[in-house]
Every structure is written in structure tokens, then in C-alpha cells.
Amino acid sequence: MAEITLSINNVNITVPQGTTVLEAAGQAGVFIPTFCHDPELTNFGACRMCVVEIEGLRSLSASCVTNATEGMVVHTDSPAVQEARKTILELLLANHPLDCLTCGRSGDCRLQDYAYLYGVKTGSFEGERHSYPLEDDNPFIVRDLNKCILCGKCVRACAEIQGNSILDFAYRGFDVKVAPAMDVSLKASDCVFCGNCVAMCPVGALQEKGLRSAAPTWEVRKVKTTCPYCGTGCSFELNVKGNKVVGVTSCDGDVNGRTLCVKGRFGYGFIHHPDRLTTPLIKKNGVFKEASWEEAIKLVAQKLGRIKAKHSSDALAVLSSARCTNEENYLLQKFTRAVLGTNNIDHCARL
């Protein structure tokens, strides 16, 4: 592929043609703040935080949607860029609740990070703020539109990753907000609560209900693991406070990227549930009694052997689970055919 060379902050860098200025800056180790950009989503160019000054152009350019060209001279930190970014932050903060002390995303919020980075406190633009009611009527996602900066990542995540297109922008001017069709709540919409919008949200507008009320971000330890629900093998991070799993967040998994389904992201309640079985149980005199794995396996083997001897192998059938991995499913069919001696093996085929 053809390569081009451009200058970023007086340092030359060579990148493949078609690279954006933002990507080129990333390769050159130059930081550019973004709200609405995400490599997994289409380029939107809306938040204007990533503006840079390109010599020869009348106005600043959004680096996320500007392709680098040969000989381009880019400045990412000029006075005009600084002024623009600070003003944009001021404008966003002027319409933001500033309740970072109790916000579940405090410590993991781009608005907070950039406000700190650029030293922007509450600005000169005191005026009307939104006062939308908190949307808290479903078990998974808390939606606080007062914190929304309208970067539109949730809209694109829903359309482009999940393929559901539940969300879009509604209304005009200062009243613009992200909403499902007819401006109903997520619960009343066709939302499947995969939470992929939540994973994309750069601020506290979309939060995982359980996780964000269980612990502040700095009190959780993240443990990368594989989702136990199905054989896809999605990676995610268990958020652990003390020795307790308090939630799940996306990480960059080889299989799934940051995408998860509702079970993986929100179905972690079984881990510490009092009803969860932790040892095998054997029913004796009508009552389940705790047993060791040896006892349990022995009992099952005995009973299977007895049925096979008395009624032939085809009296047995095995149903496997989608929660097993491919390897486990392979072993189970091998066991069924080779040990039990029957082809009666099937699979539930879905979660």
C-alpha cells in the first residue's frame, strides 16, 4: 500500500495512505482527546474534541475524520486548538450535573479526565441545564440523560454492533437527546439489554446498574476471564471488590472485542447466590444430601451401566449444553458413542 509522510508537531511520520490524522498521531505517540470516536464504530466527527490545526486550512479539522495526506503539517496543541478544546469542555460542563462525588463512573470518565487534563473548571457559561428524570426502571441499565454528552456512540453501537438500532437522536437544538423510537424508556422499547451501549459510553450517562452502585471504580479489581455461559468464549473482566464479584465490564477479547450479551454482562448474580450448588447432591430417602464428586460419579456410572445391561444402549440418550465448550461437547459425544454405545446424542443448541 502507498505510504505518505506528514508532520505532526514538527515530527515526520510515515503512515499508509488512508490513515486518519488521529491514527497517525496515535502511531507517533501524540495524544489527541476524543469522545465520539471509537475504532470499532463508524466515524462520526461530532464531538469536535479531536480538532487539530492543519496548515493551509481556514478552520480546525476533526482529526478522527480527516485523512492524512502527503506533506500535511499538523499541530495538535496550538493556541487555537487549546482554546477550542477548553471551550468545548466548558460547554459540556455547563450542562453537566458535576456530581462526580457520587457518580458511579467517577474515575472512569473521559469528561472528568479531560477536564482535569485541560484544567477546565465550571466555566463562564452558567445557564439552563437539563433536568431529565433518571431512567431506572429496568434491572440492568441506568440511563441518566443529564450526563449525556451526545457523542452518539450508543446509537452506533446499537446499530452497528448489536444490529438492533433501538437508539437514535431525537428533537433539535438544546433539546436533542438519545432515545428509542417514540421516546419511550429502554424497557418499553425492543432493547435486548446487551449493554454494548453501556460499554461504549464515555461518561456516566449509561451505567451498569449493579456494578456502579456496588463500588466506586477505584475499589474494584478487574480479573480477565472467559464467560461461562456458552461456547463462544467471550472474554470479559470480572469486577471484584474484596472477594466478591460485583459486576462485569468489557475488555478487548480475542473472540468478542468488547461485545457481550445480556447474560454475560449482567447474568453474574449466580456466582454468590445462596441457591448455587457447590457440591454434588444425592437424593437419599427423598432428601438431597451433599456428596463427594467420587460418590456422585460412581452412582451415575452404576446406574447407566445397569440401564445399558438391562435395556440395551439405545435406551440411553444424552443431551448436551450450549454452555459447554466445543472440547467438552466433543468429549461428551465420544463418551456417548464409545462408552454408552448409542448415537442418541443431541444438543440444546442455544443458551
Partner: protein, 633 residues
Amino acid sequence: MGHLNKLRARFTRHYKDKFNRGRIVVGLGTCGFAAGGDQVLEAIRQETGIRNLDVDIDFTSCIGMCYKEPMVEISLPGMARVIYGDMTPDKVPALLESHIINKHLLKEWAVMQITEEGATLYENIVKMEDNPFFSKQLRTVTSRLGRTNPESISDYVATGGYLALDTALSMQRQDIIEEIKKSGLRGRGGGGFPTGMKWDFVSQAEGAKKYVVCNADEGDPGAFMDRSVLEGDPHAVLEGMAICGYAVGADEGYIYVRAEYPLAIKRLQTAIVRAEEYGLLGKNILGRGFNFKLMIKAGAGAFVCGEETALLTSIEGNRGMPRVRPPFPANRGLWGKPTNLNNVETYANVPFVINRGSDWYASMGTKKSKGSKVFCLTGKINNTGLIEVPMGISLREIIFSIGGGVQNGKKLKAVQIGGPSGGCICEEDLDLPVDYDSLSAAGAMMGSGGLVVLDETTCMVDIARFFLSFTQTESCGKCTPCREGTKRMLEILTRICSGAGKMEDLADLERLGRVMKNTALCGLGQTCANPILSTMRYFKEEYLAHIQDLFCPAGACRALLIYQIDTANCKGCGKCAKICPAGAIRGEKNTPHVIDLEKCIKCGACLTECSFEAIKNDAALSWNKRPNTRRSA
């Protein structure tokens, strides 16, 4: 040429036949309807029925003199066409009796006469070309307005319609583009991009499928050029688009019209159906193997859809929000295909360029702005209406010669040009030639053609606030600076107008304006600070007066007015005390009254009520005594 020649011969006969009979024509553009033209038409129908008059009744569009609507044209065989203005149903019997029955021109209601070849002129009535409203105009795009029936394809073809398409279809595609380039035609939607160059880009863009799109989403306050052209000469737009389609290699086109223009949509629909019937649109146009299908897409009420990428997104069925350029529509437009997007007036110019040649077109106007431009005169001007003038004419000529000057003999303060993206030109700069470059240099812009005249009673801070409130509600909300910035600028301006402004506000306005110009995603956000920046440039002292002296020089900002009673004039009649809704006026009968400023809500009711000129709006009084400090700040 055969197909069109036959049509022309037939339609020209029809057209000429019209003038061999007595004829009454009512102006039925939107302005005509709004002024009651349909009622006048109904009255004419009834009256001709009662009196059994043997005349044809027809309608036309607005000739441009919106201030004279409803207008009625009467012509008798062999006589000039006479146009009457300010008609009402009551005046119809007298009018018909005089002009049709007694063949006597009713001079006091007549506005002008239009000469036809071989027609006898009336005495003592001005010819259209000598009427001051028309004498300095140069009408090409608007030449059929008020002259032909816009729903009649016969009228259009008889007056030279589709001749340009016929010519174009016999030309090489690139030659058409070169001809448009040579004419110097620039986009009439406001941007002023060279039309031929744009066509060339689309023509050269790779792809088998291309589109031609017409931007008829006119939305600037005080602008109705496109509506008038669509209502008055819809076929010219279709013809221009078809020529463009042939030149750039497109076989489909869309006209994006705002839904608030129902009459324009109706007339366009009629025009498309008729043109298809006669083989002038659709498949195998004029038997020359060129296919071009046109569709109408009605907007959904968003101003931002006048921005080209938002318009395309809206046609695609999505929420009309601008997308990032590049890629430009010429390369990736409608559904990702190369798309030529021009404004109504631009397309309407095309048949004239082809018919009369690029040299003729380029002979009009200034060095870099060729041809003529349609403008809408609104605001505090005597002759509100639609005009078409050669590029390079001065604003002074437009306002004082054509527009008849400022209403009620007031002093002109500024001209707002270019709508919410434009700026104000103050009195001193009225001699600037009207062309793309001079206006930009003066901090305004050509825009689509809205000209709002402001007089001394207009507050420049308030006018900036008005435009901001418009752009604020019309911001699509996609990019941060526009969505949040317009809100805060509007709040600051509202604060200043209500007497709560601070000196820091001026710096904040300037900073916000600069950042929005630098960073907003589309033209709406980039230019919406212009009304503020240009009024701050020319009328800074008004801003300062509001902030420092809590005083509105124009006396327009109600919160800053101080009402007082002039004890010398007050007779103590008590009328003001009675009308005051706040109970702020006290006084004994027959002795001068007093206004309690704490209670006064500044509604102005007392001022209107007083018969003795005893109530004074103190702010305006003291301003008049001040020296003129314009531009000194």
C-alpha cells in the same frame, strides 16, 4: 428537433390565442393566496357569471410585488395587459364594469401595463419597464413569474421552454459543462461555488449510477426566492435539472422541497406529470435516448436539511444531520453515489445560459459574480417583494430605487443579508456592489437572497438574539460547539437585552463565535455567530449601551425602557392609570400622574392610551440627544 418543434408550434398557437380574447388573470402565488387572491378569483368568477361576460379566467404566480397583492391582470384583444393591485372582492364589480364592459382603464387601482407585440398602450399608466420597482431589475429566472400560468406546460413551451434541453441533448456532455463554466454561473444557494466546476467533478467521478439533486429546502427567515421560482416557473427547474443530468451522466434526480411549501410541491408535481406526458422527462426524452426520472421529496421541517449532506441523509430516510466532508457529494453523495447538488435558482438559470449562450450570461454582473440574482425584500421596507437584479448593483439602489425606501420615512439603520448565516451591512456600506466577494469582505454574505431592512427602531442586539434563537432551535445537535454554543450565546444575548449583561459577556461571545467558526461540523454552526459578530463589529456601542448604561438605544428592548410622565403635558385624565395592568400609575384627578417604576412592567399600554403625548419612553428620548458614536467604540 422534430418532436419539440411540433409541440412548440401547437403551444405557441394556444398561447397567442389567449390574447385574442378578453382575459382576467389573478396572481396566485402563496403571497397572492395569503392576501386573499383566491377570494378575489371567486368574486371574479361570480361577477363574470352574473354579467355573462365572455372572458377567460386564468391564474399566474407572483410577479414580485408582494406588497400589492392580490393582483389582477386584465387584457382585452389588441390592448396592453393592465395590472391592478390591492384588489379585494368588493372592488371586483367596479373593476369589471370599467375595464371589461366600458373598456375604460380604472386608473386609481392600476399599477402598470405590460406591452405585448402589436398591442395598443393605454395613456397615463406606467409601463412595467418604467415602473421604479422594475426599471432597475434584470429579470431572467423570474421572467415568467406573474406572466404565465405556472401549471401550464403549454405556456412554458410557448415562451421558449425545453428549447435548451433540446439543444443540450444535441451537444457533447463536456461541451455543456464548458458552457456553464464559461458563463461564470455560481451556486445561488449562498455558497457561490462555480456551478460548471461542480458539474465537472460529478461528471468525472467514478461510478455508473449518479444523481442530480435540487435543494429547495429554503428556510432562512425572510427568504422566499426558491418558493417564488418553484411556484412561478417550475418547468425551468426541471429543465435545468434534466440538462444537468445529461451533462453529468445521471438518470435520476430528486427535488428536496420543504413541506411548508405545499403550493410549490403541487406545481412541481403537476409540472413533472405534464413533462413526462409530453416526453420531456422520463424515458427516451425528446426521442433522443436520454432517460431522466425526477422525484420530489418533501422535507420534514428541519432547517439544517438545507445543508447539502443533511439533505442527502434526509432523502435516504435518516434523521437529517450533516455528515463530514470530504468526501463531497460530487464523489459520494446520495446513497454513496456521485451526486450533483444545486439550488433551485441555479438550475433555473441553466436553460437561459444554454439558450442565450455563456457570453451573454457572462456579460452581466461583476468580474467574479456573473448574471443576475433574485432577492427578497422584507423588513421595514416600503416595497416588500421579490426582485431580480444584475450582480454588482448597490444595496442603496435596491433599497431606495426598487424597494421604495424605508417604511414611514424612518431612517435606515442596517440591512441584514444572508439570513442566519449572514450579517448586517450598515448604512455607510450601502454603496458596496452586491456580489459574493464584496459582501463576504464586509462581514456578511450573499446567502440565498434574503434582504431584511432594519430601521432606527430595530435594536441590533435584539436582532442578533432573534437570529440566534432561530439557529439554536434549528441546530441538529450533532456537534458540541453548535448544540451547546448556540444555547449559551442565546442566553448571553437574552441577558444583555434584559439588562443583566456583563462586560465579560462580550469577550465570551467573541470566543464562542471564534470557536464555533473554527470547529463546528457544518455551515450552520460555522456561520451562526455571524449575526452577532457583524453587529458587534458595526454597532458595538449598542451592546455597550445595554451593558453599561442599561439602555436600549432603539427603544426595542422592553426590559430596559423607562416610562415617565411629562408633568407639563399630563392633564390628569386618569386614562393611563385605568389601563395600566400593574397598577403602577397613581395621581389625583386633573393633576399630573406619576409612574411607580418599581411596579411598572414596561408594557407600553399607557403610552398608546395617552391622548396628550404626556407619557415618554425616556430611554429613546435621551438617546436621540446623544452624539452619533457609531464605530467609535
